[in-house]
């Protein structure tokens, strides 16, 4: 878990933080927060719940804009953030998921904003944010209500919609392995949006099932290079959002 058996000259940098509270310390009112995961796969439940704990104790962070494919399930994770009243706006593709009542209630009451983005456009906008591409063209949504007000252009006889990059102040993500330099791997389909969000956020905070020393992840198998990661915290026994939801757990 630490780098003590490395020669000090090789590795001084260490991005590990001691606990979840430290990990979410920099997240402030009004920030744009990207949250990794698609459904329960890759959802950083412990980081989210640490953020809720802080909100409950201090009233902050609130008024957040949260970016995720969905808008929370049941009464845990992002749904619990919404229930707690921390979220001013969701940017997502599919706010109707298995049990979307937290978002649905607030949305129908006019208490939460929604920017609906087609899933591939959402992924590409986040990717563009990380890659320094301020705008790109996609065929998705051309001629639909979702494209209203956006510039369109024709290339080779086909119509496209111009979309802007999407960046965040912070990304909170779940990884399988992290080394102390922030290199990450993900478990199975849990990577989904996380490698994109890691690059698109000014600060990227990661909960990893295991923190290893530099060199323990094969350089060919790194999915998110450490350059995109600012803080890693080990959460060995991370909960699975889908399992919690099926157990009917409520966090907020």
């Amino acid at each position: 878990m630490n780098a003590r058996n490395m020669r000090e000259k090789d590795v001084l940098m260490d991005k590990t933080v001691p606990d979840l509270n430290s990990a979410v310390a920099g997240i402030e009112d009004g920030m744009v927060v990207m949250v990794g995961g698609f459904g329960g796969s890759g959802a950083p439940i412990e980081l989210i719940h640490a953020l809720i704990d802080r909100f409950k104790a201090t009233g902050s962070p609130k008024n957040l804009t949260v970016v995720n494919n969905n808008a929370g399930n049941g009464r845990i994770g992002i749904a619990a953030m919404i229930d707690a009243g921390m979220v001013a706006k969701m940017i997502c593709s599919f706010p109707r998921s298995a049990d979307p009542r937290a978002f649905t209630e607030k949305y129908l009451a006019g208490e939460i904003g929604l920017e609906l983005v087609p899933q591939g456009t959402l992924a590409e906008r986040i990717r563009a944010g990380g890659a320094g591409i301020p705008a790109f063209y996609t065929p998705a949504s051309y001629g639909t209500d979702v494209a209203k007000g956006k510039p369109v252009a024709e290339f080779d006889g086909k119509h496209y919609v111009q979309e802007r990059w999407l960046k965040a102040d912070v990304a909170i993500l779940k990884a399988e392995l992290a080394d102390t330099l922030g290199n990450l791997t993900y478990r199975k389909a849990a990577r989904n949006f996380s490698p994109l969000m890691a690059a698109a956020a000014a600060r990227t905070v990661v909960q990893a099932t295991r923190i290893v020393k530099p060199g323990d992840i094969d350089p060919e198998q790194v999915i998110t290079p450490g350059i995109f990661v600012d803080a890693v915290v080990e959460v060995a026994d991370a909960k699975q959002e889908e399992a919690l939801m099926r157990q009917g757990v409520a966090y907020a």
């Binding site: 796969s41 929604l114 899933q119 959402l122 996609t138 478990r187 199975k188 990577r191 959002e241 889908e242």
Partner: protein, 223 residues
């Protein structure tokens, strides 16, 4: 009225047209059934938006790994030669024209190929998911649907009344009563239930049917 096809039978019929070696995306819900009916001797590789290629059947209950799901958030298994990738790469596959077929459900499909399958109007919470990407990416976009709504209204229409998912994107429609191609902005009838007349079918369709010389019988096994 003749016995219409069940959803499983519509899915079966759509599955018969999937070429050997095809890369296929199935919309969440009813279209997922298509995977069950791959004809023997043909292999398709299934893609799901959240970053998995070559997944297989659902695991037995209690065997789920919730890090291994499809776009509908259902647990899946892997077939040999699967691959994981992130969402931008996944939609590069979609948008970049690498999928051979996408098979989607729908509320309405118009004779000009317009598809409306994401919103039933301004009420409630809108949700679009990956459909707006899929309709523009796959080499062939097919729709499977009941021929009419629960109230008996046509789902195949001259012009969509619901918010569009995509413009001019659908090329084939498999319904509970017929198989139709969309060509030159018209529905061309390819197959119909053998027990149903063209007139009966036309009466249940919201746009004029083009009738080629040969119209096949739409028959599916009991499933």
């Amino acid at each position: 009225m003749s016995q219409k096809l069940s959803n499983a039978q519509i899915a079966w019929r759509a599955a018969q047209d999937i070429e050997d070696g095809a890369y296929v995306n199935l919309g969440i819900g009813f279209p997922e059934m298509v995977a069950k009916f791959q004809p023997p001797g043909k292999q398709a590789i299934f893609h799901t938006e959240n970053g998995v290629l070559n997944f297989g059947e659902a695991p037995a209950e209690g065997e789920e790994d919730w890090d291994l799901i499809n776009a509908g958030k259902k647990a899946i298994t892997l077939r040999p030669g699967a691959a994981f990738f992130h969402h931008a790469d996944s939609f590069a596959m979609v948008r970049g024209g690498h999928l051979d077929v996408a098979i989607l459900g729908t509320y309405e499909v118009a004779e000009n190929g317009d598809l409306a399958n994401w919103s039933t109007g301004p009420k409630g919470v809108p949700a679009v998911g990956g459909a707006m990407d899929l309709v523009h990416g796959a080499k062939r976009v097919a729709v499977i649907t009941d021929h009419v709504t629960k109230d008996g209204k046509p789902k195949l229409v001259k012009k969509c009344t619901l918010p569009l998912t995509g413009v001019g994107c659908v090329t084939r429609v498999y319904t509970s009563l017929a198989v139709l191609d969309i060509e030159n902005q018209r529905f061309v009838l390819r197959e119909k239930l053998p027990t149903m007349s063209v007139d009966e079918l036309q009466a249940l369709t919201g746009a004029e049917l083009v009738l080629p010389n040969t119209i096949g019988d739409l028959v599916a096994p009991e499933l």
